[in-house]
Subunit: 352 residues, 4 copies
């Protein structure tokens, strides 16, 4: 396949615009040929911004009327399974944003459908394509810090997530919406599956934001135990206000590695000795992972062209969901939870 | 009191030498007049190095034969209570190294004895006197980052502790020997007591070091819940090999603060572009907390001269011990443990 | 103009490959349709790597046989004038690598030819498109550090330049080949033209590299005086061995700003406490200015499409050449040299 | 000599207080026994602050009435020679602040007098005792970066110097008052004497500060050529406003080394993502060189006790003065000046 890869973008909001921008400006050989969003205002705003003429309120309509090779799914989590199954049935390759789905049943259905229809499934774990994270992963694999013993992975997001993204019922909450990448990363970088988690959560800003969603939390800290014997923590804070912060620190038998940093651009200013030095911070995730967002789509296009399996697919998506489910159960029940508990029963959370 | 404060140094090993060096070189107005250590070889080596003539194998002998105002206790944890009680009974002011004691009974006895005998009790929590930690604490108190929501405190030490310091029975293990400072710091900086902890531990290097001490671990990660609703983690790794690493990261409702850093001296070198930049790391705790070790002794001397209470005393020591006991029980029993469990019963660990 | 911008790449070596890669992978809407290089081996290697079929040993042949809109000139400095004049005469837009030309006569001819033929002329000063440099320039323009007083700009390159690039006669030497960007940047960021320069040079590694080119130097430090009254320095070291290093420090009446840093990727490792922390450095200029190289070509394409003037053109190129000439004369004559001396006479260097 | 070293402090202002504080708090074995200052108000304020009872308006009186071993001279430059000669004649060891004197005649007289009277002469070049600078110097000496090729040394001070310190006639101006340390450091770290300098100066803030001193400048940038063939720059800005900034960057045949940094305490805060990270800067020189100021006095005391020569003495002081004189003449005459010109004639500046 050598011609331009034609893409239908599902979702015209923040993430849909981000990927549309990458494809339109930075990924030679691909093109967004159709845009789908149920909200016409958003659909038209994004369509106008990027000059996409074929716009639809439903995915079915897009399939009917436009010819394309692949989809990029950027809609809310609870829509992932039906959209992925439709795409697979229509023979379209799938780039699926995280979190993969709401539970392990859904994950399994998606994986099975893509395999049966022989379409590519790539998950939106762009940290695998970030130059720093990917270099770090290679160096760990190369043995530079020895056998991994302890990892700390954090993601703090600046603003309040939308209502569906903070409700356990529609999204599995912040552990899924904010920390999906951390679940994926700790497993990737520790080179081991996790087998036990213990979670604490806190709700500091909910009252001031008039949030009365049951079990709402804006701070979480998970203690993670790995099959390898290694230890880890995942922390999430959202809204943190101060910026977009995603960093990992990992210690192996031979040494320590820090991946990423709080600081953004290397432009340092001081104009007041009582205030001190000022340096930019990453304000948003598109800033922090600018390269990752371009490279992951380039990788998806290349996998389609060369009929290769992507670096991150259904297995990574499913493990991330499993971690979220175990960690959520942990804080709901006030005890450490084993991953085997969620794998054995594939059950959804007790509260739902 | 204006004359030189005369000090009897208890313990002539690593920590004893560190404090003796501070007093001898950097603390005008104080003097080590006697040195006590049961091991004559160590006693004489340190005595010779600093020109201290009065040397004793027992503290009782020192009390008998030398006139002094205060003691600095740097001996193993299990000796703290008897030495502190003797000092108090003799009317000597006490600078007591951490951890304060093996259990809460002992802490209470020490506090009671110093109060009864009206001697000063300062704990060796030098981070309160580190310019960075103390500036940070003031800024947090001043509201700069808002109400504290989450703290992460780590202490990783380079080398294997001596046998007594890694045996739960004689020292309460690494959570006490390495992480006592973290227990103190998280409470200080979060401005709240902790009420619940959950601990994971790992043993990565024990077998290679032929360590068969029961329940030995060289990695630990504790999830800490605070009365304020805040969350935290304490991590310890020893031996980590790569340096002495003590850092805190704290997020409040208004922002984030990082205290300390991995890097040591600001001397950056690059001689090989395939290797990259090289910067010194703190190799040891005396390097990292060089100012803190001087200032804490200056503070002790000043408290004696001015009959003031030190900034860190028995209460701080006792809380640190309580955290250690709760966290140790947590990993032994595989469950979250409430601080009230150890306060209510003041019990020692179940394994002993 | 909405269709793909067709480009003829002049020069298939290091810089030609860099721009071809940008266009082929990252600049949607443009395409390298012809490749020109007198050395067939290089021509074919690059042609094969990027799948460019139309390959020529001379530019005239390319003009004859292929239809294209623009050229990117990446050949040695002494070829810039003839190639630019040919391009302009053929009505092709021009992206011209630095240094613009060997002397001010040539610069003037190029500017005049592009104006007469109404083609766009963009100079390859990619620092204007680097996110850090461009943000810094905007902040300085916005008054953040007040009126600029002093600037220091350095460029140190890792490896020995090719013979033509270190010979004053064919390239104006390192001040041109390595420091052209600095000449441009100090004028841009200080917001003032320079009027006097004094240069020192040194030859440390020439003998070991068997270089006997007259007036060869591998270290240079120029003291720059600006019309505004401001001061500056430009330093060049090549080969420096340790990496690619390009940084600016500027102090204004209100404060200091540092742009860029020695460190590359934010991946920090320590595995040996006697060695210390290790962080990557930028190894090469394509790494350091990865964004700049993409954005400058995107800007060129956009200027062609929208018939806009590029941000950096002939004027910037000409000033950079003037600085090089004045600074070279300074070290040859051992005295401060005024810019008016090179502008008034437009003369080439006395040694040639 | 084993008893306390008794010191007479000459000058009770900023620098006098700094050294008095070091001696009184941090240098066991020494004591300020007399304080001299012609201004009674300053004399009494400092005397009261440190509890020094013997206070005099003239040094002669102090010599008459108090017994002491050594002096610390912190008075303005033009008083250095007479005070040093008096001290030497009285057999007192001398710690002399920089700059050593106003010209080379004075330097030679001081050196000769101390040698004749066999008293120790230490210059106040505390950077030799700063842990970072001294470690760097040792590493350079050890060959880590190879033969030094280029050095940049800067000192920017926050506030406006007092009138005597900015007048060429009484102080040699900023090149002496602010940059004396740089003159010393570049020679020390490059391991070579300098032989030629070229200076540019600027006056940006003078008018706003109503300064009409002839030849006043607040920015200077000196191009330094070394006998080794190496190159260097010294820059001074005062008042810079933004903090106290003293850094060195040196490149050798094998690599680069950066000594010191803009940043102060490792406490990093972000509370506003539009503003970015904030880190303290060094506000003043006592903050930046806190260790250096303690260690240099400890070294002086140790040299007295052990009858050793100090690490930095008359030779270092004299070279620093020579650099200042050559660089000043350079900007006054608008040409590069050779050091041999000032050594051969020992002349004072042409303008005086």
């Amino acid at each position: 396949m050598d011609k331009t890869v034609r893409i239908c973008m599902l979702g015209a909001g923040r993430v849909g615009k981000l990927h549309t921008n990458s494809i339109t400006r930075f990924v030679v050989g691909s093109k967004v040929v159709a845009l789908v969003d149920p909200v016409s205002e958003i659909l038209n705003a994004t369509g106008d911004e990027f000059g996409i003429l074929d716009r639809f309120n439903s995915f079915e309509e897009a399939i009917d009327k436009v010819s394309f090779d692949a989809v990029v799914i950027t809609t809310p989590t609870f829509t992932h399974k039906p959209l992925a199954l439709l795409s697979a049935a229509a023979g379209k390759h799938i780039f699926l944003e995280k979190p993969m789905a709401l539970n392990l049943f859904e994950c399994d259905e998606i994986i099975e459908a893509t395999q049966r229809n022989q379409v590519i499934l790539q998950l939106g774990f762009m940290r695998h394509f970030d130059p720093e994270f990917s270099a770090a992963a290679e160096r760990i694999e190369g043995g530079e810090i020895g056998k991994p013993m302890m990892i700390k992975s954090l993601t703090h997001g600046p603003g309040l997530p939308p209502p569906w993204a903070r409700d356990l019922k529609t999204s599995n909450g912040m552990l899924a919406e904010v920390n999906s990448h951390d679940w994926d990363c700790v497993r990737w970088l520790m080179r081991s599956d996790y087998d036990r988690v213990y979670t604490e959560v806190a709700n500091f800003k909910g009252p001031a934001n008039n949030i009365d969603t049951p079990n709402f939390y804006d701070n979480t800290l998970v203690n993670v135990h790995f099959e390898s014997g290694g230890l880890g923590s995942i922390s999430g804070i959202c809204p943190c206000g101060y910026g977009y912060d995603a960093r990992v620190e990992i210690v192996g038998e031979l040494g320590i590695m820090q991946i990423g940093e709080l600081r953004g651009q290397a432009v340092v200013v001081c104009t007041n000795r009582d205030q001190g030095l000022i340096t930019p911070i990453f304000r948003t995730w598109p800033e922090r992972f600018a390269w990752g967002y371009i490279y992951e789509i380039q990788h998806f296009i290349e996998c389609i062209r060369k009929e290769k399996n992507p670096k991150v697919g259904g297995e990574e998506g499913r493990w991330s969901v499993a971690g979220v489910l175990a960690a959520t159960r942990s804080f709901l029940e006030g005890r450490p939870v084993y991953l085997r508990e969620v794998f054995e029963t594939k059950e959804v959370l007790p509260s739902r």
